[in-house]
Each structure stands twice: as structure tokens, then as C-alpha cells.
């Protein structure tokens, strides 16, 4: 067992209202730069929809992620090492900027500089790529809220798949259509195919927290990672010629703060926490032959932080105590492994993604209520799940490689929670059969309710800091690491400084060293502060 820790995320799609605050704050924090105009490390897609970049889920076209070869071993879908190197001079599977969208700005200057005339001056859209006037035809979010779904809806690769199995399940007629929002960031996978695709070895997964990053000094711009990532969450900065991607806001996470997208989420739907996993089992799990088995296989890779064996192994592996503590309190671990309501995004790509989703139930409740039924009655709800306007099959194509079982189970748990809590809130005695029918105890349901519905800040984000183990060293580094007199031949360097030395014993040679911070203790400080005679203090 090679135990490793990972900062993972769960998003509760039930609560996503598609406000794009996460996208905007992320953009402001990370990608409002030249060369990154078209890049959204975090984007929110309306599903059904084509996504961003368009139809990125169509892996027969884009060749992202892994597949199994004839022997049943993992192989990059984009081709093995030799194929990658032989084709390094161009990358036929690279999405162009137009597959994302052509970024633009407006010619605002014209509003003030236009000569006097009969017409009002207008700010023409200008391409940020060519600088020329352009016609705006697509954006990162053109089909938001099903915009154009009657025309473009059929282009969603997952709609195509669902229709193959359940012909009439996905409707785009106004009365029968459905939608939900899917916020997406980098999945920080356990088996990242972008890292595996990078010829330079510039992409890496951090040992301590599993965050996948690009080393900007080593990236040589071969662009294989863009193709390798099936979620298309590695982007090419066309000004610097380097790959860039979601960093999981590691500078924030390292000091215990949630990512920008989580922090600013108005729906409070994101959860961040530690997950422990066995790195030795990852490849085996990713090689699970049956795609439907991949979800369970990934669950099998995760370790239970309450297991004494795991705790011992973690200690031996050097995982700090506060990380273990965080793993025990991790909301992400609870939603994924304990309650099993969160599901991975496209496990069939075999990358073992680490941003999971709780499938949306709310549209079911709304739809039921509209038909005059009691939308929170569990019998009605359970029945309705199978006849959802969001077809189970569609959700299953997204979250479980087409296996409706786990999706139904997750939605039933959410439905049971609603019924149970309604009884509690109305002062009724909750019907024990409801919780039993989904295999949970009343206490568990109420705990889950607290996590999902109350969703306190400190429950949603349980992030151990990077450096508690390093606390002492950090404490010293919080002080300036050099003295302001430490210039060349200055007094701090043992020189006499520009004004010559004094006559005491503090100059060159007999220079009295200031005590370094390590010897400072609470008692010493106190003695210094309270001593009557300066000689008493050290």
C-alpha cells in the first residue's frame, strides 16, 4: 500500500443556479491575461449542451483520456509514446481557438472619438486574436440556459449516446425539455492522461496534495497535454506558447483557504477536503474492463481514514497528523465514500477524476409539484425518478459511463433526505422505512442534510494547510530572511557600513550576534518583558 493524500472537490449540482460567479472570479484571478483570453479554468455548462470547447466529450474525435489495448492494459487514446514523438511536428487532434470561441473586445474608443455625424457611434466588436472587426458567433457559453437547444441540442455527444439507448428520452420541445448546470474545473485526476501525454515531463502531480500542475519553465509547447486531457482542461497560452491549467488555487489551498471558485460560489455547492488513496491500486482500477465497473473501482482505491491500519500506514508515509485529522472530517470523503451520493465525471475516460458531482434532483421535485403532486412525498419522488424529465440515462452517460444504478441510488438518497427532513421540520415522526429503503440510518440522513443543506463554511471546506509540519521553519521565514543592513559590506554583512564603525564591541570581529528566532520561547519573551535589569534578560 502506497498511501497518498489528495485535495478533492465535490459539487452539489442540485444547488447550482448557473450564475457563473465561479467562472468570473476564476477568470479574474487566473486568466485575464494576454494569450488566455479564450481560457476559462472554471466554466459552467448548461446540459444538455455542447460544452466548452464544443463537443469536447466526443473522444472519438478528440482522442483524450485512456483506453484499453487488446491485452487489457492502459494506453493513451491519442497514441503511445512513439506515435506521439513521430507526430510531434503538428498535433492533428488539437482543438483550435475557434473550437473554444474567438475572444473579442469592443472598439470602445470609437464611442468618444467618432466624428460628429447623423448616426450614433457604436462600439464594434473586435477579435482579440486578429485585432480586426468580427462577427460574434459563439462564446464559452453561447448555449447557456439551452439557448439554441432546438438547433444545437442534438450536437451534445451525451444526448447522442442516450438516444442510442433510450430513443425518446431526450426532448428539446419547449414543454418537455430539461436542463441543469455543470460547473467544470480540472479534475486533478489520479491517473492524469495530460501528464502522461507531456513529452517534456513538464506536467506533474504533486505528491503532497495531488494537485496537477504545469512547470512553466519546462513546458516546451508540444501541446500533447491539450489533446491528452479528455475534459479539455489544459489550455494553450497562445502568447507565451506554454500550457496552462487550473491550479486548484494552490497558493490559497496551501494556507488553508478554499479555491476562488469555491469561496465565491453563491450557491455554496462546492466542498473541498482530503481524500486518502492507495496509489498502488490506481492503475489496476483504471484498467477495469467493464466501464460500468469504473465507478466502484475508483471507490475501491480510496482509503478509510478511520481505519487504524490506514492511519498507521499514513504515519509511516509521512502524511502529517493534521492532514489525517482533515481526512477524517473531510466532507468530500463523506459524500463520496460514506453516503455515496457523489459521482465522478466521465469515469469511462479512465483518468480517475477527483472532482465529483452530486446529480441534480431539484428539477424532479419541481416537475412533480407542477403536476399537482406532492413533490416531497417519497413515494411520488421515487416513482418520478425513473420518469424524470432529466432522463436517468442522460445523467448516467455523464457520471457513471451509462450505468443508471448508482445515479438512481444517489437520487433516491436525496429524495429520501427531503421526505425525512420534511417530516422532521413539520414535527411528524419520520417514517423509518424511508431511510431504510435507501440503506441509511436516520442519523446518517440528518448528518447528510447538515452537510448538503445547512452547508456551513467550516463543514464545506476542511483544508489542512501545507505547512503545519513545517511550522517552525515557516515561523522563521515570516521574519525577513535577511537584515535590511545586509548590503554589500554593510554592517549586517560584518562590514562597518558607510559611516564607519562605533567604538563598542558590536562592530567587525567582536560583533554580537542577535539571538536567532529559534531560541525565543514564551518564557524568554516574558522574562525579557518583565525583567527589572536588562542584564537579567538573555
Amino acid at each position: 500500500m502506497r498511501i497518498m493524500a489528495q485535495i478533492a472537490m465535490v459539487m452539489n449540482l442540485d444547488k447550482c443556479i448557473g450564475c457563473h460567479t465561479c467562472s468570473v472570479t476564476c477568470k479574474q484571478a487566473w486568466t485575464n491575461r494576454n494569450g488566455m483570453e479564450y481560457v476559462w479554468f472554471n466554466n459552467v455548462e448548461t446540459r444538455p449542451g455542447q460544452g466548452y470547447p464544443r463537443r469536447y466529450e466526443d473522444q472519438e474525435k478528440w482522442r483524450g483520456g485512456w483506453e484499453l489495448n487488446k491485452k487489457g492494459a492502459l494506453r493513451l487514446k491519442g497514441g503511445g509514446r512513439f506515435k506521439k514523438l513521430a507526430g510531434i511536428f503538428s498535433n492533428p487532434k488539437l482543438p483550435e481557438i475557434k473550437d473554444y470561441y474567438e475572444p473579442w473586445t469592443y472598439d470602445y474608443k470609437n464611442l468618444t472619438d467618432a466624428p460628429l455625424g447623423d448616426d450614433y457611434p457604436v462600439a464594434q466588436p473586435r477579435s482579440q486574436i486578429t485585432g480586426k472587426p468580427m462577427k460574434i458567433e459563439w462564446s464559452s457559453n453561447w448555449d447557456d440556459n439551452l439557448g439554441g437547444a432546438t438547433q444545437y441540442g442534438d450536437l451534445d455527444p451525451m444526448v447522442e449516446k442516450t438516444r442510442q439507448q433510450a430513443a425518446d428520452k431526450v426532448q428539446f420541445a419547449f414543454e418537455q425539455t430539461f436542463m441543469f448546470y455543470l460547473p467544470r474545473i480540472c479534475e486533478h485526476c489520479l491517473n492524469p492522461s495530460c501528464v502522461a501525454s507531456c513529452p517534456s515531463g513538464a506536467m506533474y502531480k504533486r505528491e503532497e496534495d495531488g494537485i496537477v500542475l504545469v512547470d512553466q519553465d519546462h513546458c516546451r509547447g508540444w501541446r500533447m497535454c491539450v489533446t491528452g486531457c479528455p475534459y479539455k482542461k489544459v489550455y494553450f497560452n497562445h502568447r507565451t506558447g506554454k500550457a496552462e491549467k487550473c491550479t486548484m488555487c494552490y497558493p490559497r489551498v496551501e494556507v488553508g483557504l478554499p479555491t476562488v471558485c469555491s469561496e465565491t460560489c453563491v450557491g455554496r455547492l462546492r466542498y473541498l477536503g482530503v481524500i486518502l488513496y492507495d496509489a498502488d491500486k490506481v492503475t489496476e482500477a483504471a484498467q477495469t474492463e467493464d466501464e460500468h465497473g469504473l465507478y466502484e473501482a475508483q471507490l475501491g482505491v480510496f482509503l478509510d481514514p478511520d481505519d487504524p491500519g490506514v492511519q498507521r500506514a499514513a504515519e509511516e508515509a509521512g502524511i502529517p497528523f493534521d492532514w489525517m485529522e482533515a481526512a477524517r472530517r473531510s466532507p468530500v470523503h463523506a459524500l463520496i465514500s460514506k453516503y455515496k451520493v457523489a459521482l465522478p465525471l466521465h469515469p469511462e475516460y479512465r483518468t480517475m477524476p477527483m472532482v465529483w458531482y452530486i446529480p441534480p434532483l431539484s428539477p424532479v421535485v419541481d416537475a412533480l409539484t407542477e403536476t399537482g403532486h406532492d413533490g416531497e412525498d417519497h413515494a411520488n419522488l421515487f416513482g418520478a425518478i425513473d420518469t424524470l424529465r432529466i432522463p436517468l440515462e442522460y445523467l448516467a452517460e455523464i457520471f457513471t459511463a451509462g450505468d443508471v444504478g448508482p445515479v438512481r441510488s444517489s437520487l433516491e438518497k436525496l429524495a429520501a433526505m427531503r421526505s425525512h427532513m420534511r417530516a422532521v421540520n413539520l414535527g411528524d415522526r419520520p417514517d423509518a422505512s424511508i431511510s431504510e429503503s435507501v440503506g441509511m440510518s436516520a442519523v446518517e440522513i440528518e448528518e447528510m442534510y447538515r452537510l448538503l443543506a445547512i452547508a456551513k463554511y467550516e463543514d464545506r471546506y476542511v483544508i489542512p494547510t501545507a505547512a503545519v509540519g513545517d511550522a517552525q521553519r515557516l515561523e522563521e521565514s515570516a521574519l525577513p530572511d535577511s537584515c535590511s543592513l545586509d548590503y554589500e559590506d554593510g554592517p549586517g554583512m560584518g562590514g562597518e557600513g558607510p559611516f564607519g564603525g562605533d567604538s563598542g564591541n558590536t562592530t567587525t570581529g567582536g560583533r554580537k550576534l542577535l539571538p536567532v528566532v529559534s531560541v525565543e520561547t514564551f518564557h524568554l519573551t516574558k522574562r525579557r518583558q518583565t525583567a527589572d535589569d536588562p542584564k537579567e534578560s538573555p
Binding site: 509514446r81 512513439f82 506521439k84 514523438l85 507526430g87 510531434i88 511536428f89 503538428s90 498535433n91 492533428p92 488539437l94 482543438p95 483550435e96 481557438i97 486574436i129 486578429t130 485585432g131 480586426k132 491517473n191 492524469p192 501528464v195 502522461a196 507531456c198 513529452p199 517534456s200 515531463g201 506536467m203 506533474y204 502531480k205 504533486r206 505528491e207 503532497e208 496534495d209 512547470d215 512553466q216 519553465d217 519546462h218 513546458c219 516546451r220 509547447g221 508540444w222 501541446r223 494553450f236 497562445h238 502568447r239 507565451t240 506558447g241 506554454k242 496551501e254 501545507a466 505547512a467 513545517d470 521553519r473 515557516l474 521565514s477 515570516a478 525577513p480 530572511d481 535590511s484
Partner: protein, 240 residues
């Protein structure tokens, strides 16, 4: 003049190549990239770029063989002058045609596709002029002297090139060389000197190590990055 061009210039070019590459590696790792423009336009590039790159690799191999393998060696293995010439003519022309076609397609793409042209720096333009000149001159020199057994550069240019290693180059060997070859060689040296200062540096990062490393790379967090960074040389704060 002979000494300057055939005795000094080669060393200047090599020194610039080596020192320049070291300098670039130390001070501009961030700028060390292919600067790909594929996200702007990929249809033409998917054809032109492999054609050009495979062509130029062929050309490079041809130059190495032609300049640094003495004819006495090839004769010992039993390759006659005529066979060698035919081989060099056919192979060289094939590679040359690939390269020339490739670079013209690339240039056409660069000029006509607006986003690509907009991303072209002055440095790129200079590089393209020299690169194109070197390729076209080489091709012209080869083909204008193709009749019969052609011009036998293995008795003049090649020994001169090898004599460079002795640090006392036989500059006289370049005296009778056709002018086209001479110009090609000078432009070639200029190109070598330019490599570290242009996007051509990407040739030194051919990712051969990809074949040997494990797929997933793990790295530990940079310990120095917790807390304030040490100041880098050249970035010390002034005053106080």
C-alpha cells in the same frame, strides 16, 4: 578575407551557438518553447509542419554525413565516388524538395492567416529570412552543380569543415569552391549563430526522454516556495 570567413566566422558562430544556448537556458527558460501557432490555424500546419521538419532532419543528417565522414571511410566500405554522388544527389534532392515545399507552405500560412501573421515577431521574420536563404541557396548550389558527378565538396569543403576541429583550419581549401556553395556556407554559419536567439532553440528540446520515463510524473512541492522566496541574482532590492 579568406581567413576572416573560413577561419574566424565558423568559430564565432559556434561560440555564439554554445554560449547563447547556455545564456538562454539560464535566463529565458520561460521563453524556450516552440511558440506554436497551431491553435490559430491547424489544417495547413498539419501538412506543412511535418513535411518541413522531416525534410530538414533529413537535410541535417545529410550535412553531417557529407561534412564529417571522410571519403576515405566510405571508399573503404566499398562505396564509389559515383555511387556516393548519386545517393547524395537523389537523397539530398528529395530531402531538399520536402524542406523547400514545407517552408514555402509554412511561409504562405504565416503570411496569409491573419492571426498567425499577427503573432509573428520581428525576430521570427529575421529567422525566416536566414533560414529560407540557407535552404534555397543550398538547394540551388546542389542543383546547379549536379551534372556528371557534380561538384565534389568532399575534397574541399568537407576537409575544411573537419579541419575546424584541429583549431588550425585549412582555409585555403575553400579557395576554389563555387561561389554558391560559399554563400550557402556563410548563410549556414549565420543561421547556426542565430539558433539560440530565436525560436529555433526548440530543436534542442527534442523530448527523447519521453520514451523512457514513467507515464505519470510525481513531484514534491517546492519547499523553498513556502514562505518568502530567496531573491534571485539580478533581482535584489536596492537601497535600505
Amino acid at each position: 578575407m579568406t581567413t576572416l570567413i573560413w577561419g574566424v566566422l565558423p568559430y564565432v558562430a559556434v561560440v555564439l551557438l554554445v554560449a547563447g544556448t547556455i545564456w538562454r537556458f539560464r535566463y529565458d527558460k520561460f521563453g524556450w518553447t516552440t511558440r506554436s501557432s497551431q491553435v490559430y490555424e491547424s489544417k495547413l500546419l498539419n501538412v506543412a509542419s511535418p513535411v518541413f521538419h522531416y525534410g530538414i532532419l533529413f537535410v541535417l543528417a545529410g550535412h553531417l554525413v557529407g561534412l564529417f565522414i571522410p571519403d576515405s571511410w566510405t571508399e573503404k566500405v566499398g562505396v564509389s565516388e559515383h555511387t556516393y554522388h548519386m545517393f547524395s544527389l537523389i537523397g539530398g534532392t528529395f530531402a531538399g524538395v520536402l524542406t523547400v515545399c514545407g517552408i514555402f507552405m509554412l511561409l504562405y500560412r504565416r503570411r496569409t492567416k491573419a492571426p498567425v501573421f499577427k503573432a509573428t515577431t520581428r525576430n521570427d521574420k529575421l529567422m525566416y529570412v536566414v533560414l529560407l536563404a540557407a535552404i534555397v541557396l543550398g538547394m540551388t548550389a546542389k542543383l546547379t552543380h549536379a551534372s556528371g558527378d557534380g561538384y565534389n565538396y568532399r575534397e574541399s569543403i568537407a576537409p575544411w569543415a573537419r579541419s575546424l576541429f584541429t583549431l588550425s583550419p585549412d582555409t585555403y581549401r575553400m579557395d576554389g569552391v563555387p561561389v554558391l556553395y560559399q554563400i550557402h556556407a556563410v548563410v549556414g554559419m549565420l543561421l547556426i549563430a542565430l539558433v539560440p536567439f530565436t525560436r529555433l532553440v526548440h530543436m534542442f528540446s527534442a523530448p527523447v526522454q519521453y520514451l523512457f520515463r514513467p507515464y505519470v510524473v510525481y513531484r514534491s512541492r517546492d519547499q523553498r516556495r513556502l514562505g518568502p522566496r530567496p531573491e534571485r541574482r539580478g533581482w535584489e532590492r536596492t537601497g535600505t
